[in-house]
Structure formats: C-alpha cells, structure tokens
C-alpha cells in the first residue's frame, strides 16, 4: 500500500481555495489524537519516573541513560555500554528482517505466478491470497499457536506418520515467533509485488531473450530492477509491523524473551511500571522506523528523477 502521491492525473482546481476547509477534520483528528499524543510521549521520555508507574514533571535523562548505559545492578558502577536493550532491539530487527526475507522468498514467486495468469484467474488467486489477511491478526496468531504446540495437530500428524519420534518443540522459541511474523504479514508482501509485476512490460524480457539471456539472468538483470519499487514497498509493509509486533512474541514466544513491542508494553502494563523508559524505547523505535522510511522515500524520489 505504497502511499498514493498527491496530484497525479487529476490535478484539478475546482475546489481551489477550499483545501483548508476540506482538510480541517483530518488535521484536527490526526493532530489531536496522534500528533499531540506522540509529542507528549516524547516529553514523557525526558521526565522522571514515579515509583510504580506514572511520571514526575522533572526533566531527566535517566530513561535514555538506562537504555544505553550499564551502571550495574545497583547503579553505582562506572558506566559501560548497556547491551540488554540494544540486544532486544537487535533481536527484533533481526527477527523482522528475517521475516521480511522469508516473505519475499515465498511472496515474490507467488505474486509473479498470479500476475502472469489470465486476467480472470488473477482476481480469483488474489482473492485466495487476501482472504486470510482479512481474518483477525489475533485469530491467525492463535491458530498458528494451536497448530504448532507440542500436543497440537502438526506434531500429532508427524508423530503418527513416524517422520519424527518426539515433538518438534517449536512453541515458545524464536523460531515460533519467526513463523508467526512470517505468517501474519505474508499477504503484505504479495500485494505490492503483484501490483508491480502486473505492470511489467514483457517486451523487456523478450528483448533480453533475443540477446540470449537465460531465464534466470532475465529475472536477475531485467525483471528484478523493474519491479524493485513493489518489492521495496512490500518489504517495508512486512518489516515495520514485524518490528513492533506484540502478539507473536507474547503468544508464540512464551513471553520469554522481549521484543521491542513486549518490552514497551511491560513498562506500561506490567511489573516494571517505568513510563519514561517505555516512552524512550518507543521514541527509539519510532526513530528507527522513520529512518527506514526516509531512506525509502529518498530512493523513490531518486528513481523518479532518473
């Protein structure tokens, strides 16, 4: 769902001068219920934590200090780099990245296959791929949990056919979280890639084939560069929500190792009750995502110019 650029084919001026009026509700609602809250969250990350939840309105860098610096269990050792939270972020980025690659490996061939069907069949295939996306994310995650648990149908099937002789022990592992993320966001990859492949001009492939390029060379040197925008859009749509995922680590990972989403959740809903720290972690997450999106936007404008 790459953002639709403004202007485009219909840069009409019928309502010229009315833009302010027409956009006022948008500014009010998103401004009030997203911009101001995020700004407030940014402020909270620089406040002092109140014991057991809440904040005291005093400026403090403690939240960021705690995130990046290790001062020992008792807070009086000389500071060194704190790897705990960087580690949590790194694991989340790694998990989200891996999910993105997996989605691409499965999603690209699927999108390609669908886009090369006859137009009538395409819609049917698209429908088949999108229906699961419309099913509640929670339901899908729970279904995955049910399927792969030690006493679940997957292990029962494999055990009864003798393929394995002990349960796979998938549940509550990082692999299970990975599977959950991949499963949750796979349709996000297929749709934008499909949109790009559908517009692909096969004359390019034919030209390459005339020059004796092999099938895979054409894929690598001709097709991939052309459909790249769709692939990048798909990657972002998988990567960003995976990065802040909460349900998959909580339900499939046994709430055992934090990912960014669960780390932040714990600060507000769990025992930690450290609001400024949770706000700081959320700020850092948002910064990472904004950097990814900015890089994407810049590459888009570069491509548009080229």
């Amino acid at each position: 769902m790459a953002a639709m650029a403004p202007g485009g084919a219909s840069n009409s001026e019928i309502y010229k001068g009315n833009a302010g009026k027409l956009l006022l509700p948008t500014w009010l609602v998103i401004g009030f219920f997203l911009l101001i809250p995020v700004a407030l969250m940014a402020i909270y990350s620089f406040l002092t934590k109140e014991f057991r939840g809440g904040v005291i309105w005093e400026f403090s860098l403690t939240a960021y200090d705690q995130f990046f610096l290790n001062r020992g269990l008792f807070g009086d050792e000389p500071p060194s780099i704190e790897w705990t939270y960087i580690g949590i972020f790194w694991r989340s980025i790694w998990q989200a990245g891996l999910a993105t690659v997996l989605c691409l490996l499965i999603g690209f061939p699927t999108a390609w296959f669908i886009a090369t069907r006859a137009p009538r069949d395409r819609t049917i295939w698209l429908l088949i791929v999108t229906v699961p996306y419309w099913v509640n994310l929670l339901i899908r995650t729970v279904s995955m949990k049910f399927l792969i648990r030690d006493e679940g149908p997957l292990n029962a099937l494999l055990l009864s056919t003798g393929i394995i002789d002990a349960p796979l022990g998938l549940i509550n592992t990082n692999l299970a979280v990975q599977l959950g993320l991949f499963y949750s966001y796979l349709p996000f990859m297929v749709l934008p890639v499909y949109a790009a492949v559908e517009r692909y001009d096969f004359a390019l492939s034919e030209a390459a084939a005339d020059l004796y390029a092999s099938r895979w060379t054409i894929l690598r040197l001709v097709i991939l560069p052309v459909v790249k925008p769709g692939i990048i859009a798909g990657c972002i749509l998988v990567f960003v929500p995976s990065l802040g995922a909460f349900l998959a680590p909580d339900l499939l990972g046994g709430a055992k190792s934090f990912m960014i989403g669960s780390l932040i959740e714990e600060q507000f809903k769990g025992a930690a009750g450290n609001w400024p720290f949770g706000a700081a972690a959320a700020m850092i997450l948002m910064t990472i995502v904004m950097i990814v999106l900015l890089v994407y936007a810049r590459s888009q404008t570069r491509e548009a110019k080229a």
Binding site: L73, E151, N172, G254, K256, S257, L263, G270, N274
Partner: protein, 339 residues
C-alpha cells in the same frame, strides 16, 4: 391508599436499584458468573467485571488512569499494603457492612489492613509449583525443581509472570530474606534466576493451568486452587510442598479510592461475606475462604483436596512489600531476567 403508596415506593426503589451498578476489577477466572447473577437478582445491581493477571498489572492499570473507574479490586495482601501506602484505597467502618462480623478471627487484624477498614477477605491460598507425574516421578518437594531442574523437566517449565511471587520463591530457594539490601544476596538472586531461565519454557500467569493440561509444560509455578483445577481437568500433576516453604497469600475485596459506586461496593462485600456465597466462590476457585460458617456449604472434594491441605509442618511465607530504594533493585533483576 397506604397499600398504593407502599407499592409505588417499592416500584420506585426497585427502579432506582436497577440503575445501580458495580465495577469490579478481579483476577481472571476467579469469579463464577452464577454468583454475580445471584448478586444482581438479590440487589438489582448489575456488575461489570474486568480482569488482570498479576498484582503488579493491577497497580500499573490503576496508575494509568483507571483509579476512579472501578469500585472494587482484588489485590493480594502485599498489594493491599502498597495501594494503601499510595493512597489509592477507600475506607469504611465495620457497621457499614452488616456481615463484617463474619470475617474469621485470624483474618481480621491483618498487618496489611489493621481492623479491616478497606478490605474484606476473598480467598487465600498458596503458591508453589506443580509437576506432571508422567514426565517426572522423583521427589518434587524442593524448589530446585524450578531453579535447577532435573533433566526430565529442563526446558519444560512455566513460571508465573509476576516479580512478586517468582522472585520470592527464588529467595526462598537461596534462603535469603525478602527485601534484602545485601549486595551479595541480590547478586546471587540475580545469578540464580538468570541461569535458571535457560531451563524455563515460558513466563505466564494466566496460562499457568493451560500449559500443564495441554502438555506445553511439564512443571510450572502455580497457585494451589489453579493446580487443583488443572488436575480436575485431567492433567496428571501433583502440587508440591517444597521443604523451603510455600508462599501464602490472601486476596481481598478492596474498596478503591474514588469508587464511583461506593454503596454497591459495600453491598457486594456484604454479599460475599455471606457464608453460603463465600463457599460458592471457594467451590469455584478451589482455594480457601476467610468467612465463618462456610464449612457446611463446601464441596468436600475442594475442602479435602491435597492442594488445600498442606502436610504438617509446611513452612509458609508472605510476600513483603519492599521500600522504594530496595524495590528498584528487584525491578532491575526482573527486567534483566526478562530481556
């Protein structure tokens, strides 16, 4: 004429009563719907119930703007103390609750609520752990089952997702006091749980029963009544009474500050202090009640369950509420553990 007046008065009070409500904030799976229905039928007060899964989650939620939204919460002993210290409790006098006298003697003058001015007993029980006997048939009455488990159980253990009980059980394993400020003891505690985590499969309180019945875990920290329920649902598990002791707790119907329906709250407390109702709750939750005269209504299976009848000489420990400067160190250990 008099008769007409009387009927209209009754009709008036009834219609006023039907508009009354009660906002209850309770642990999950801790209140049978039938009992709430009975309360509504008797008083005309409709009950809305939300649930939480740890004392700390309750505190966090009240801190996050929910104080003033609920009338009653059901915190454990140490959390009643913390909520009281934070100024988050309402109060009443015993004569506002006619059944106040039904509270058992031993639960009347409790350290967390001297003289019962903010809370009344709900259920009390113990926390230790249960082990699947199909998987492990050795001696289970040792906290080592959780903190340095035998090979059969390693990697198949669920622990409660609450720092209060989990770190207290770990302290008991190490035989160190709670709320200690001794550095070596805290370091040892940190080292113990960090190392033990490698043999834990998951953290979860609300899942504690399900992981045992579904076989996702072969051993798990659990509350005694919840363990009894898991056993009744077919899991071949045994509740342990470790030689280091078990944690004892009491959950209490507690009046919150700024309760929007204070009268409903007191009516509900009074209702739950009725022996028959307290027994119905106990039969459902399968812990023990703190109300006089319950015995005749109790399900013998619950009253005589192995989970409710610890062997003679079992050591018991209450979770303590630590002062802030010490609690932050326990919080640090917990966060460090869950990374």
């Amino acid at each position: 004429m008099n008769k007409f007046l009387a009927t209209s008065l009754i009709a008036l009070t009834a219609s006023a009563a039907s508009a009354q409500e009660l906002k209850l904030y309770n642990w999950f799976e801790y209140m049978p719907q039938e009992l709430l229905d009975k309360f509504t039928a008797e008083t005309g007060i409709t009950v809305t119930m939300d649930t939480y899964d740890s004392n700390e989650a309750l505190l966090a939620s009240l801190k996050a703007g929910k104080l003033g939204a609920y009338d009653i919460a059901v915190p454990g002993d140490y959390m009643v103390k913390i909520l009281g210290d934070e100024g988050m409790l309402g109060s009443f006098t015993p004569d506002e609750i006619p059944n106040h006298g039904n509270i058992e003697e031993q639960w009347l003058n409790v350290p967390f609520d001297e003289g019962r001015k903010s809370s009344v007993p709900y259920q009390w029980g113990s926390t230790s752990f249960a082990v699947n006997r199909d998987v492990f048939d050795g001696d289970i009455n040792d906290t080592a089952i959780i903190f340095s488990p035998p090979e059969e159980l390693a990697g198949k253990i669920n622990v409660l997702d609450t720092s209060g009980e989990t770190l207290t059980l770990a302290s008991m394993h190490l035989a160190i006091p709670q709320c200690t400020s001794d550095r070596d003891q805290l370091k040892a505690l940190n080292a113990l749980v960090t190392e033990a985590k490698a043999s834990w499969a998951s953290f979860g309180s609300d899942v504690a029963k399900d992981v045992l019945t579904s076989g996702d875990a072969a051993a798990g920290m659990i509350w005694n009544g919840f363990s009894a329920k898991a056993r009744n649902e077919g899991a071949n598990i045994e509740y342990a009474y470790p030689k280091q002791g078990v944690i004892v707790w009491m959950d209490n119907l507690t009046l919150l500050k700024d309760a929007p329906n204070r009268d409903s709250a007191l009516a509900f407390m009074n209702f739950m202090l009725e022996p028959e109702n307290a027994a119905a709750l106990t039969n459902f939750a399968q812990y023990s009640g703190g109300v006089k005269g319950m015995a005749e209504f109790l399900d013998p299976e619950v009253a005589n369950s192995p989970e409710n009848n610890p062997p003679e000489g079992t050591k018991t420990v209450f979770v303590e509420a630590c002062p802030e400067e010490i609690q932050v160190m326990y919080d640090a250990i917990w966060t460090n553990l869950k990374k």
